[in-house]
Amino acid sequence: MENTEELKRAEAHLERAEAELHAAEGLERKAEHDVQEALQEVQEVLKPHEVLLEIATPKGLFEGIFPEKTKISEVIEIVVDKKGLDKKDTFELVHDGQVLQPTDRTLESFGIKRKAKLELVATGSGV
């Protein structure tokens, strides 16, 4: 008797898990579709050899289109200026956890093409 109850509970649990899995698969398909749509939009807006940068900064988000041959130092200078960051501080750009140095290299030389998410932070700021 006890085993039957346990079995019923397990079956109900399994059904719920399957329903959740189906819902998650639906969300995943929608997310993939959204990504494809966004990529297509980017392709339509960008000219060849341009890159769309989405940069998280200490003063919120900065978005801008740059030529792939723009130097990292030039990107930093523009973003610091546009976001009104303190020019006394030294900033660095980070992509996928990697600090983009030396800053006289271009976006292209770091493999940054079409669309990229970067972070701008003050150099140091930790131990």
């Binding site: 998280a56 988000l61 501080d89 996928d96 972070e119 700021s125």
Partner: protein
């Protein structure tokens, strides 16, 4: 009348929210001076922070690793492993984190820092807003010093 901390948090959280929304980080306000933030690491694990800005900006906020619900702050499994900034005491080692001061928290690695001078500390290096602090933590969780979650 709102406190200085409440006014400062209200102003600075706007920039943090902008970054969080763009990156899919979950930011949940708990009250006027406290919030819960979810940040992803490079191995796809998620880390949670309970941030207490009482007394901010006279004193730095307290950035404490916690669980998804924000109810536990002392479980090793909720903290990252790493070096330097991701200190093995389980606290973020930076002058802009109140918990890094031994005078505030026994886990704090620094008895040599003065909490009242946190903005002038050379290791703060301009990291004086909530959005900036969150970005620095995100970068550490996705950088070479991060070594995964601690074992429970």
């Amino acid at each position: 009348m709102p406190t200085v901390a409440e006014l400062t948090v209200a102003e600075e959280v706007a920039a943090l929210r902008e970054n969080a929304d763009a990156r899919g980080w979950q930011l949940r306000a708990l009250d006027a001076v406290r919030f819960h933030l979810t940040l992803p690491a490079k191995d796809k694990s998620e880390f949670y922070l309970l941030v207490d800005c009482n007394g901010y900006p006279v004193q730095p906020p307290a950035w404490d690793w916690c669980d998804a619900a924000g109810t536990h702050t002392h479980r090793p499994a909720d903290k990252p492993r790493g070096s330097g900034f991701l200190h093995n005491n389980g606290v973020i080692c930076a002058p802009w984190n109140r918990l890094a001061y031994k005078t505030v928290d026994s886990r704090g690695p620094h008895g040599d820092w003065s909490i009242g001078e946190w903005q002038k500390n050379s290791h703060t290096a301009g990291c004086t807003t909530l959005a900036h602090m969150a970005l620095r933590i995100f970068i550490e969780l996705n950088g070479p010093r991060y070594e995964g979650k601690r074992l429970g």
